[in-house]
């Protein structure tokens, strides 16, 4: 073997000094990331709004004034009557209470499938993009086939063959969504793989595992995370759509999509039944979009300037 001169390391920090420095460094990074995020007013507002929605959903059993499945006032009572702030729906149930309860399902249906699909996609897309070869070929052809169907249609087909329910919605959307994220992961992987710093890393002796974990993943996560975050809102809408079609959450459970569906028959006479859940869906979906934009800034070291 080659003989090596002993390396003079000079002054060496003690282990706890290193740990303390690392902790300080991470805290500083977090703080800078937060500054970068908070610079975007829309993202900050969206985060606050969403935090309130999540809190309300969690506290729904406590703060709901009425039982979401029982009549509490006159049929289609307009807002303000019978002591119901947002009025009652076609069955006389309190719309406010139903919105509170419906938030639980909406958030679950929005976040659940996106998280599941992202995790599956990270594995599939990274493997295909980094190693290429036959696995890549087969996976891309399957994805091409899936892309022939619109996402909603595919989700309808999958949900249609299963028992209706929350878990069906989550499963159906997860499957339908995976190809979209997997494709992004794959292209991003291919993109990062071509960067000169990958070749530099290889020239420095890094193996596949190190390159994937320290180079590809950290550089690929930001765009994927941003994309996934904006998808949460969209998947909420898709989930509401499935419930609207009767393939998802079943009445009398409260779900924003079902609430819109139930109100559409009396849209002219009692528009508030449709409008309130409709507006909430749009606002929450938009919030996820704004949060995605803010994350893009927070995750980019270049924007976390000192």
């Amino acid at each position: 073997m080659t003989q090596r001169q002993p390396i003079d390391s000079g002054k060496v920090d003690s282990a706890w000094q290193i740990r303390r420095d690392r902790m300080r460094f991470h805290l500083r990074t977090l703080r800078l990331a937060w500054y970068a995020y908070a610079k975007d007013n829309a993202a900050l507002g969206a985060l606050i709004f969403l935090a309130i929605i999540i809190l309300i959903s969690l506290l729904a059993p406590v703060i709901s004034p009425y039982d979401p499945a029982e009549a509490a006032g006159a049929i289609a009572a307009p807002p303000g009557t019978d002591g119901l702030i947002l009025g009652a729906d076609v069955d006389g149930r309190d719309i406010l209470s139903r919105l509170f309860w419906g938030g639980r399902i909406a958030l679950l249906v929005g976040i659940g499938p996106t998280v599941v699909a992202t995790l599956i996609s990270l594995f599939l897309g990274l493997t295909a993009g980094y190693f290429g070869g036959w696995f890549d070929q087969i996976m891309m052809r399957i994805i091409d086939v899936v892309f022939a169907f619109p996402l909603v249609l595919l989700a309808i087909v999958i949900a249609g063959v299963l028992e209706p329910g929350v878990w069906t919605v989550i499963l159906a959307i997860s499957i339908a969504l995976t190809p979209y994220i997997a494709r992004l992961v794959r292209t991003t992987t291919l993109n990062v793989k071509q960067q000169p710093y990958i070749e530099a890393a290889r020239a420095g002796g890094a193996g596949d595992a190190a390159i994937i974990l320290r180079y590809i993943l950290p550089n690929m996560i930001p765009p994927v995370l941003v994309f996934a975050t904006t998808l949460i809102g969209l998947m909420m809408v898709v989930g509401s759509g499935l419930s609207f079609l009767g393939l998802g959450i079943q009445p009398p459970d409260a779900d924003w999509g079902i609430m819109v569906a139930e109100g559409r028959g009396v849209l002219r006479k009692a528009p508030h039944i449709t409008i309130f859940p409709g507006v909430v869906i749009v606002l929450v979906a938009l919030s996820f979009n704004f949060i995605g934009d803010g994350l893009r800034d927070a995750l980019d070291p270049r924007r976390r300037s000192r």
Partner: protein, 327 residues
């Protein structure tokens, strides 16, 4: 003569393209003494970088090293497993790339990136790697290395990043440094600083340096020996004095005539080499340079010239040599 630390023999790296076989490197041989500076010169696309990448086996499909031997000390690098090769890369042979702006991982601090190699190759603990990384940053002229250790690549200018990359490449005190056009992407004023740093580092480590460049001024100031490449082939190989004062190959002569020299005695204009470089995809038989050569003979059409020794270590691949007498 000292035992060479690196010996490349008949290296051929070909790329299988749709248009045909691109013979990016086609039969390159040279040897490198343990403290020698070898400059590889040639136009863009002449195979300089591919030669360097081949030494570290960084060639990706559709490229393949189809022939040749690369001996490092007593090891044949082409026969090593990928795992064994990873131990050589960055440890015994370090590489510095052309574009410092994109050769650092943007999501990690430069300190982490330098420490990574140290912990990987030298088994240093985190704290040892850190203090050694700071020393390295200091040694390549980064001011306030303790603070800069925590900075991200985008906090640095191009010249400073190239210093960081040099620090990373020499972290494990390699026997061989390969610098692939390390100053091409930098300002002229910074170029001189980086070259001086490279020269200092090479002397301090007493390592061999392969410097790839197309700047003949750099060659004159840095090189011990020079390898001139054209279309993937070795055109001329010799020590720097010979190449500059007594070039034999028409291509080398053309190169020398195309640059301004301070010691120029001539009054006539700078001359360029006519035509454009040959792209060696399915190259025709004969000499690659003949279509641009003013002294081409009949035999140049049909037969590829082999390297022949002019005197001692001076090799020239040209039929004119065999005809006796320089052009």
């Amino acid at each position: 003569m000292v035992e060479p630390i690196l010996k490349v023999e008949g290296l051929k790296t070909h790329f299988k393209l749709r248009e045909g076989m691109l013979k990016a490197v086609d039969g390159i041989s040279f040897s490198l003494a343990p403290d020698e500076v070898l400059c590889i010169v040639g136009e863009s696309g002449s195979g300089k970088s591919v030669t360097a990448q081949s030494i570290l086996r960084l060639i990706d499909p559709p490229g393949h090293i189809v022939e040749g031997h690369i001996r490092y000390r007593d090891k044949d690098l082409l026969a090593l497993s990928e795992r064994e090769m990873e131990k050589i890369r960055g440890d015994r042979i370090g590489m510095i790339f052309q574009d410092p702006m994109t050769s650092l991982n943007p999501v990690f601090t430069i300190g982490e990136q330098i420490s990574e190699g140290l912990r990987e190759h030298l088994d240093l603990k985190k704290n040892e790697a850190k203090s050694r990384a700071i020393e390295l940053l200091r040694s390549v002229g980064i001011p306030h290395p303790e603070e800069r250790y925590r900075d991200y690549p985008h906090h640095f200018s191009g010249g400073m990043r190239q210093r960081v990359l040099i620090a990373a490449a020499i972290a494990c005190e390699p026997d061989i440094l390969i610098a692939d056009e390390p100053t091409t992407a930098l300002d002229v004023t910074i170029q001189a600083q980086i070259l001086k740093l490279l020269a200092d580092v090479q002397k301090r480590l007493n390592s061999a340096l392969i410097l790839i460049t197309h700047d003949l001024g750099v060659v004159a100031s840095m090189a011990d020996r020079v390898l001139v490449m054209y279309a993937g082939e070795m055109v001329e190989y010799g020590d720097v004095k010979t190449i500059f004062e007594d070039p034999k190959h028409p291509y080398t002569i053309g190169l020398m005539n195309s640059v301004i020299r301070l010691d120029d005695q001539r009054d006539d204009e700078l001359r360029s080499i006519r035509g454009t470089p040959l792209v060696p995809i399915n190259p025709p038989p004969g000499c690659s340079f003949r279509s641009r050569c003013d002294a081409a003979l009949g035999v140049c059409e049909s037969e590829k010239p082999r390297p022949s020794s002019v005197d001692g270590g001076h090799l020239v691949s040209c039929h004119l040599m065999r005809q006796g007498g320089a052009p």
